[in-house]
Symmetry: C2
Subunit: 335 residues, 2 copies
């Protein structure tokens, strides 16, 4: 049944014009008489014509497609980011090609190369590389997410790690906590560094004497976080609250708190996770919404694709505290 795909030529023929004129109508060129336009439009509808994106892209030298490069497509955080990008893209009839680097620099290079080869119109990248020299004269707009490219003047959408951490710790303080522990990643990444700085900002900003024994830097993949939490609670002067600097640390710490029946400890997690709102108490988080990051990155990219040329900018995705209980527990057992 499905008839042969109609081509521009068929439309032109049906409308009794040349392909060029048909093309004008389709591309909204106004140098066409109303009458001709109507004929062409009718033909388009009659034949169910839709331009071949491949042919169009070839001629224009640019595909109606954007590429999204992330660590791992299956990572829930990036999955949500991508989901939001796709949501914005589909409204603009743009396809989204995904690729993952698996956190390997050479793969990053390969997938980007492949995307350039395809002449994508734009790229959104969670880069793991430090060296972006090969992107310097990119033929298409780039937007970095999660981490800005420090050696490249390009748009980026990141979160205010330092400010967010400070905000979280201050939230705990507002509920009476003064001894607040930090559990976070080892300092390998900029993200971790900034969050620890934010924690220190809050402590010092409140005039509290910093106590380094309250700062635990762990390897969350090894399950250190729970051990660290237990050690913290055994201190002579234990914390009344814990700030967990990332999701994985939270996932490690919380089972320990439950097991020790210390759900009276104040707790805030930088980063949300499934079940966070179904635990008892539900876990208060600093939300760095992947959707917001995806949306902001896509907005910026599409605005450049539309020809706008805003100054290059590093955009901070909004952070907000989602109070669910664990961060609003009053400080107890104060000596």
């Amino acid at each position: 049944m499905k008839q042969q795909r109609a081509r521009l030529r068929d439309v032109a023929e049906a409308a009794g014009t040349s392909t060029k004129t048909a093309s004008r109508v389709i591309n909204g060129d106004d140098r066409v008489s109303a009458e001709t336009r109507a004929r062409v439009e009718k033909a388009v509808i009659d034949l169910g014509y839709r331009p071949d994106p491949l042919a169009r892209s070839l001629r224009r030298g640019l595909d109606e497609t954007i590429g999204v490069v992330v660590d791992e497509v299956g990572d829930p955080f990036f999955a949500s980011v991508i989901g939001e990008i796709e949501r914005m893209a589909i409204d603009r009839d743009v396809s989204v090609i995904i690729a993952s680097t698996r956190r390997r620099e050479e793969r990053e290079r390969i997938v980007l190369d492949g995307l350039y080869q395809r002449r994508v119109a734009g790229l959104i990248i969670a880069s793991i590389s430090d060296n972006h020299a090969y992107l310097r004269n990119s033929s298409c707009p780039l937007v970095f997410i999660d981490r800005a490219a420090e050696d490249l003047a390009a748009d980026a959408v990141v979160v205010d790690d330092r400010g967010g951490a400070r905000m979280a710790v201050e939230h705990l303080m507002r509920h009476g906590h003064r001894r607040i522990a930090y559990i976070g990643d080892r300092l390998s990444t900029a993200t971790a560094r900034h969050r620890l700085l934010g924690y220190r900002d809050a402590i010092e900003g409140a005039g509290i004497v910093p106590d380094e024994s309250l700062v635990a830097q762990v390897e969350p993949a090894k399950g250190d976080a729970g051990v660290a939490a237990e050690a913290l609670l055994r201190l002579p002067e234990p914390p009344t609250a814990i700030f967990s600097a990332n999701t994985r640390c939270s996932l490690g710490t919380l089972p320990t708190l439950h097991r020790l029946r210390r759900t009276d400890i104040g707790f805030i997690s930088f980063g949300d996770f499934a079940m966070a709102d179904t635990l008892t108490p539900a876990i208060t988080i600093v939300d760095h919404s992947p959707e917001a990051i995806g949306r902001l990155a896509a907005e910026r990219l599409f605005s450049r694709l539309a020809g706008e040329e805003p100054p290059v900018e590093t955009i901070l995705a909004p952070l907000r505290i989602v109070a669910r209980g664990s961060g609003e527990l009053a400080a107890v057992g104060k000596p």
Copy 2:
């Protein structure tokens, strides 16, 4: 620095041949003398030539791209499926375009239409529609995931919902449970129906008299699951274990069990979720690995793209029980 992209014509010129001959070398046509071949190959390397995928696709009438259509790209389950598909695709130099239906039938139609328009080489679809007539003479191979298309002879990769549910319930029985409750979705989907059947299979297979008061069909989005769990535990003869037929029901039920301090109740969840292995006790699950589903679907699709024509088949992705504790609790409080 980045010189102009080399075209086939440039290669041909550098090698002193026609474009056609260069094309032959690149496409591995053997009707080329060894000497000419060597010259062309050298030129390809010197110029860093790589064929333009767009032009090639246009000529061939087929893009080196596959489309993946799911409910929601951001859904962790589908994200993992897609991640695995992308992993397989990149090895074959195939790009992956994603699109989501947001569970709306008209969107399914629209995104599929768009992908056809792009002339994707193949499609992997988690269809939500019941009517696939418009896919009947698809121009490219289709593989359904998660749900088979019942009105269409097409490959599908699904899980054995009935068998998996039975397996889960039998696992509980092996730990002494005889009164086992079912908490699951309302019966709108085939998936839910099959899982309830599996539960009944196990109960009857064990010679237990079915007790309908142990079967709770809820609307998990409304938070019914927790309420249902509480009601079950208040029964005169309460269950000693619960089989939760899907992830969302588990997410609803578990906080209730924890709140009631009834973590002694046996529990198995059909479908994994974050924190499942960090709760106390950790949650035993029936794992329907999204990676396996993605891999199987991609394998099937690529084998068809490679020209193989295996008979159309509905493939069952493997299911396995991941014992973590909650499913291995011995039955207690037996009257």
